[in-house]
């Protein structure tokens, strides 16, 4: 016997939420608080680097995904960002007028079809 998908989803997500709650509870007990790091940890001195780069213990958000995605599909994003979304009104107009033309073409073909059939 099977549950119907709706009930199954609700039960499953309830279980997931419960698990997440327990995990979060365990994590919040175990974790070391990163906002209260000691001064020595905040400014480690390794081999003469400036401390400002080392005091960041995270990766900047844009390098993480941007680097991954951009490396994956540089060409696509070059087209999307530089060509299509160039911010120039007339270049948008090209895409928009092509679409208007497409719709008019559909209308025209339909009309031609009907008139040729003698509608």
């Amino acid at each position: 016997m099977f549950l119907d998908p709706l009930t199954a989803t609700l039960i499953l997500s309830g279980v997931l939420a419960f698990t997440a709650l327990i995990t979060w509870f365990i994590y919040s007990v175990v974790k070391s608080n990163p906002t209260n790091v000691s001064e020595e940890f905040k400014e480690p001195y390794l081999a003469g680097e400036p401390t400002s780069t080392l005091s960041r213990i995270d990766a900047p958000s844009n390098t993480l995904f941007w680097g991954f995605i951009y490396g994956l599909s540089r060409k696509l994003y070059h087209y999307l960002r530089e060509r299509m979304h160039s911010g120039i009104l007339n270049e948008w107009g090209e895409y928009m007028s092509v679409y208007l033309g497409l719709l008019s073409l559909i209308g025209l073909l339909f009309t031609a079809l009907i008139l040729l059939r003698g509608g």
């Binding site: 979304h85 160039s86 911010g87 120039i88 009104l89 007339n90 107009g93 090209e94 928009m96 007028s97």
Partner: protein, 142 residues
Amino acid sequence: MRFLKVRNMDINGFLFVFMLSTIMLNLVISLYGVFARPSLIKKIIALTILSDSGNVLAIAVGFRDWPSGWSPSTPPVLNVTSPKASDVVSFARVAVDPLPQALVLTAVVIGLAVMLFLVFLTLQIYRLYGTTDVRKVAKLKG
């Protein structure tokens, strides 16, 4: 008026078709102007032509048959106090349809407001960017 049946077209019909084709041409040209001209001022002028062509088209739709060669169609006022059915029929055939004119009145007023707003924005663009060329007004991208 009879676009596909050229043979029995009278002078009014010819004029009507001529006007319609002119309006269509105007619409296409003004669309080209809005989409392809780089200057914002030129774009606004083209937009004015576009909306005015639409308005003239709407007025033309209210056009009714001229009863005979040189007597024009009449205003939509019924000048009989107690009309018979035949009066109403001939009235409906001859009188100009007032509804498109009401539509145009509304559209003109709205068009005025939008146009004025766009003109103000263009002025503000000129103050802030020093140009009205859309190829240079492109700070937002990507």
